[in-house]
């Protein structure tokens, strides 16, 4: 029988109406899934009891895809087809990735809008790779919760721009997840902390994950979360600390150009050493030297701090800036919440303590806190509202605006505006008789268009010819609760409109997403066809063998030469088809099988008669009756 969970008073679900919802922390290095079970949020472990799913996907030549620990285990031997840290590629072009200085052990391909990873199974987009991780988590949750999910809340760094958010949503759709909402990671952490501790006041969330750094200033009052300011660095995380250690180790032993596999091994060992140094003062790194013997290096905590202190310092600048944006001083902060495995490093904790003038809070697991908060939000959005109703206010991380004459960025919605938000501004024509206007939608804080991120180009046509400056074009920017933007432009006097939904600039259109989904469906059909062909072939083979055996036994006695020839022809026709392995051969195969069946019907009847005669001849009736 089904297993029951305890509900809040008066909130028992009717049978078959469970609304299972999960929170997913889709991380650069590790991902987690959590759900509210019997009133409290808990991370859902896999069948082996492991909470973290490494965000690693391995593609095989035979089309097989493995994720998590199974994929990670093969990273050293198969680095080109084992994709890790794909979150850093999400919604990014090759130029973006190269500018950020990301070094990846696999091959990247330039593609319109978003970079692709060149694997043995073909070019894979970060959306598809993220979808594999999400699918694994979805299956884990469904197996554990015992039913299909109504939806999921997926967390993203507060610094993710529109393209990166849309890419994350698309990945979820490919994985068969209905996204209830995208939630900023620090906000999710605050939900987990705020609800667990019912603490009011202003908090800072310092989130140093595998690949991203976020700082958020949040205000918690009477169950209402308000994000006052956010900041961060989308290209700074624990992975960078690993890279520093790897670079140090290579210099120390004079390692020139190691093989990809050696490099992977070295990365894994440097990461292990980094983690060990959070608890000890020295760690040993065994550096693989190709054909030569490996060399043991000792990394002291002091050296490690020297190597990485500037990375820690780099996190403090956005932190101070966020404080300034919120109009607060460090003394106003009641507590600092640490999120992300990288915040276990003692010198990170020390720097945070110094910056905010207080010891950070560490009583929740920094790896799980984001997923737990997302699960609580998912539970509310799925309609399983507890009695503690709470509202969540979020802000946009980067200003949104458009290009004006001279290549300047005009901000329409300033950053840190509370979501959802809609703002409108009027623009006019630049030349006499101008009938069209190009609107270039931008995101960023810089003044020059060239320094901002281009989100979309839209055109408004059909403006009545007027003198310059007479037309009144109202441009409306709207950002929904997920932080996604739509832009519309309307010429006021004539009413012409450019009804435009801004597509994120990475170039995967809805149609492309749909076609990818259709592809996977189409392949399912093809698989089914092939399976039917295989089954028909097995049937045919059985029939051929039986006919052959029967011919050898009774063919000479019971059949005339022309009859034997007819059966041989039918057998030959069928035998030929056994070698064809295509879905199209199914009909022919079934026809030939029927043909052979028909050709042998008379033969089978004669064999039956002959057999009966053999059995009955020389028997007396009473003996037969005894037999029966």
């Amino acid at each position: 029988m089904a297993l029951l969970q305890i509900s809040e008073p008066g909130r028992s679900a009717a049978p078959h109406q469970h609304r299972l919802a999960v929170g997913i922390d889709l991380g650069t290095t590790n991902s987690l899934v959590a759900s509210v079970i019997s009133g409290s949020a808990a991370v859902i472990p896999d069948a082996d009891g492991r909470m973290l799913l490494p965000s690693v996907v391995r593609f095989r030549a035979n089309g097989e895809v493995t994720t998590g620990h199974a994929a990670l285990a093969h990273q050293s031997e198969d680095p080109l087809n084992t994709v890790s840290s794909a979150k850093r590629l999400m919604g990014r072009g090759l130029a973006d990735v190269e500018r950020d200085g990301h070094v990846v052990p696999y091959r990247l391909l330039d593609a319109p809008g978003m970079v692709r990873v060149d694997t043995v199974a073909g070019a894979r987009s970060p959306v598809e790779i993220g979808a594999e991780v999400l699918r694994t988590l979805r299956e884990r949750a469904e197996a554990s919760l015992g039913g299909a999910l109504v939806g999921a809340v997926i967390t993203v760094p507060a610094y993710f721009d529109d393209a990166q958010r849309q890419a994350t949503k698309d990945a979820a759709r490919l994985a068969g997840l209905d996204v209830l909402r995208l939630l900023n990671e620090p906000t999710a952490a605050a939900i987990a902390y705020g609800l667990d501790n019912a603490a009011e006041g202003v908090y800072a969330v310092y989130d140093l994950g595998g690949g991203t750094f976020d700082i958020s200033i949040l205000k918690l009052a009477r169950g209402v979360f308000e994000v006052l300011a956010t900041g961060g660095d989308a290209a700074l995380g624990g992975d960078d600390f690993d890279r520093r250690v790897v670079a140090w180790a290579r210099t120390e032993v004079g390692l020139g150009q190691p093989s990809t596999q050696d490099l992977q091994t070295l990365y894994a060992r440097c990461r292990a050493a980094k983690e060990a140094l959070s608890g000890t003062d020295r760690a040993v790194i065994r550096v693989p030297m190709g054909a030569d013997d490996p060399v043991d290096l000792i990394l002291s905590r002091e050296t490690f701090v020297t190597l990485t202190q500037d990375l820690v310092e780099r996190t403090l600048k956005p932190a101070r800036r966020a404080l300034r944006d919120a109009g607060l001083a460090a003394e106003d902060i009641r507590g600092v919440v640490l999120v992300g495995g990288a915040t276990r490093m003692p010198h990170v904790r020390a720097a945070v303590a110094k910056c905010f003038g207080r010891e950070p809070l560490t009583n929740l697991d920094p790896d799980q806190i984001v997923a737990l908060g997302a699960a609580m939000q998912a539970n509310v959005l799925a309609g399983n509202r507890g009695e503690d109703d709470w509202l969540l206010l979020d802000v946009i991380p980067l200003s949104l605006g458009l290009e004006t004459m001279g290549g300047l960025m005009e901000k329409i919605i300033p950053r840190n505006s509370t979501l959802p938000v809609a703002r409108a501004q009027e623009f006019t024509t630049f030349k006499d008789g101008q009938t069209a206007m190009a609107i270039h939608v931008l995101q960023g804080e810089r003044e020059l268009v060239a320094d901002c991120r281009s989100l979309a180009q839209i055109e408004l046509h059909g403006i009545p010819p007027m003198v310059a400056g007479a037309a009144r074009i109202r441009v409306t920017f709207q950002v929904d609760a997920d932080g996604l933007l739509s832009v519309s432009a309307r010429e006021q006097s004539s009413g012409v409109e450019a009804a435009v939904v801004v597509k994120p600039s990475y170039g995967l259109t809805d149609a492309q997403i749909a076609s990818m989904l259709e592809d996977s469906h189409a392949r399912a059909e093809e698989d089914l066809q092939l399976r039917m062909v295989r089954e028909a072939q097995v049937d045919a083979r059985r029939l051929l063998d039986a006919t052959e055996a029967a011919l050898a036994e009774d063919g000479q006695a019971l059949l005339s030469p022309p009859e034997r020839a007819a059966i041989a022809r039918a057998m030959y026709a069928l035998g030929e088809l056994l070698e064809v392995h295509s879905p199209e051969s199914l009909a022919a195969l079934r026809q030939a099988t029927d043909g052979l069946n028909r050709a042998t019907t008379e033969f089978a009847a004669r064999r039956m008669n002959a057999g009966v005669q053999r059995a009955f001849s020389g028997q007396r009736l009473d003996q037969l009756e005894q037999l029966v």
Binding site: L3, L4, I6, P15, H16
Partner: protein
């Protein structure tokens, strides 16, 4: 007669109550819904109703309203793990048959 918890169920309920930070016990109830007539409900209790029947089982206060008690008398609530899934299960001697999934039943 009474309604009881198995030891493992009691341990779980106590853990959940502690995590939740409030609540005086666990309510077992029967609702007239579902594909086979009746359905079980399992809820935390913040407030006792005047006519509630209460039972103590392994340190947990179990509350049952009198109407539900007719259907639940003699029931033991167990906590079990089935593969990846874990949760509570009713061992109810009054049940004649239940729907395939066991979420609802007939007496």
């Amino acid at each position: 007669m009474s309604v009881t918890l198995s030891e493992s169920a009691a341990r779980r309920v106590n853990a959940f109550l502690a995590q939740r930070g409030k609540g005086i016990g666990l309510r077992l109830a029967v609702k007239t819904s579902g594909c086979s007539g009746m359905a079980y409900a399992l809820e935390f209790v913040d407030r006792q109703e005047a006519d509630d029947l209460t039972f103590e089982s392994h340190g947990v206060t179990v509350l049952v309203d009198p109407k539900s008690h007719v259907y639940l008398d003699g029931t033991e609530l167990d906590f079990v793990r089935e593969g990846l899934n874990e949760g509570f299960k009713f061992h109810n001697p009054n049940v004649k048959d239940q729907c395939g999934c066991g979420e609802s039943f007939n007496v």
